[in-house]
Symmetry: C2
């Protein structure tokens, strides 16, 4: 008997952002595997085994999921956001490629979710309404020089940008360097959006001109968005609306 | 009495990809506004007015929504995918910025959805598992030279890429030009994924080396993904899995 591994996205936090497809997968699971705070979002029930694990053990966690599936379990690996965006789907597939050849025969599926940048964008309007890029600012798994290069090229391409993992206790310096690069490369005062705990009760959205952005405005619970040169702010009595127009003049 | 405009994403097609948040907004609506095929996805019910409209009238449609809300209606503007990604949210905000100043006082919200590129990525693994960009290949609203520039810079940045609106009857030439640019700029045979009718019963996923990609492989129902230089294919008995690893060697 052969089981399955389904990698699902729980969205940024609000239960109302979990797709029915993901809820159905969770309801059929025998085993839930994931980072401690994401597994904590799953309601216990008889017959469901919860396997929370610590951060930075993504490959161990993936191999655990694949071994359980090989024994016949119906395993769901939980990510926040979308599992394919800086989350568990790539880790599980890395484990498949380099692991037991039998794992390739398992039923392996990835179910999309609401990724943080899109929830953050929606919360302030449509700042990613035109061409954009998504960059993970952690240099745990790539050289900092590559991050810098991508920031400069993204500015030259005039993409709107979304930044994941801007800052952590173990990497206090990177985001400040990234801001300096962006401030030099963009050469204007387009809006930067700091979206913390998006979709949760304590969500905060802070919109500042790029020149006024500082490293302390972000932490690991923040996704950061930066407009393109075309991005607009609509002032009003409540929170302003930010959007990037669909058209660029010829 | 003042109403509301809620811009929602219906996802790529499968009802199981509509978030409960969006379903709740639809259940409270008095008026649904959108492109004909998207409004056709909404079940009629007593008290709900449906206002389908043709393609390429995004600003008219947005102004209609805002006027109805000003009269007290609870309007939901429906997009496919995520409304903030090449969809209706930016159009509504353009209308707000340039229209009746009173519209700024309305309750305007954007609710995220599953955008096509993330559903397409999930359907074949995790090709957007590392830094990536999203580019709309239609030159209806921006100069073709800007698209070419962004393609070259995205290749230089070694982003994985997602392409929306690759090809239409009115623009038969553009995608062929884009492919030629990418083939020259990338200089390798990374995988390109043609995902048509993602999440629908007739979904098709075709994976080809970039050198073998041709313009005829895409139409307006296709979202196209291109790996980075790091993207891997895992062959197996069933459909192969494609993913972009989380790490890049220093």
């Amino acid at each position: 008997m052969s089981g399955s591994v389904t990698v699902v996205g729980l969205g940024p936090g609000d239960e109302a952002l979990i797709t029915p497809e993901v809820s159905a997968a969770l309801a059929q699971a025998t085993d839930i595997i994931g980072y401690i705070p994401y597994v904590a979002r799953i309601a216990p029930r008889p017959g469901l085994r919860l396997h929370p694990s610590d951060n930075r053990v993504e490959i161990d966690r993936s191999e655990h999921a694949l071994r359980l599936a090989q024994e016949g379990a119906c395993v769901v690996v939980v990510s926040s956001g979308d599992p394919g965006v800086f989350a568990m789907a790539a880790a599980v597939l890395e484990a498949v490629e380099h692991g037991d050849p039998g794992w390739r025969d398992l039923d392996i599926r990835v179910l999309p979710g609401i990724t943080a940048m899109l929830a953050a964008a929606a919360a302030c309007g449509a700042p990613l309404g035109h061409d954009f890029c998504a960059i993970n600012l952690s240099d745990n798994m790539k050289p900092w020089a590559l991050i810098e290069k991508r920031l400069r090229l993204a500015a030259e391409a005039d993409f709107a940008m979304a930044f994941y993992n801007p800052r952590s206790k173990s990497r206090p310096e990177g985001f400040g360097k990234a801001l300096a690069t962006l401030q030099a490369a963009c050469g204007d005062d387009r809006p930067m959006i700091f979206a913390r705990n998006v979709s949760r009760p304590d969500q905060s959205i802070r919109i500042v001109p790029l020149s006024a952005a500082t490293a302390e405005m972000a932490d690991m619970r923040t996704v950061v968005l930066l407009g393109s040169s075309q991005t607009r702010i609509i002032p009003r009595d409540g929170a302003p609306l930010v959007y990037t127009p669909r058209s660029v003049a010829g």
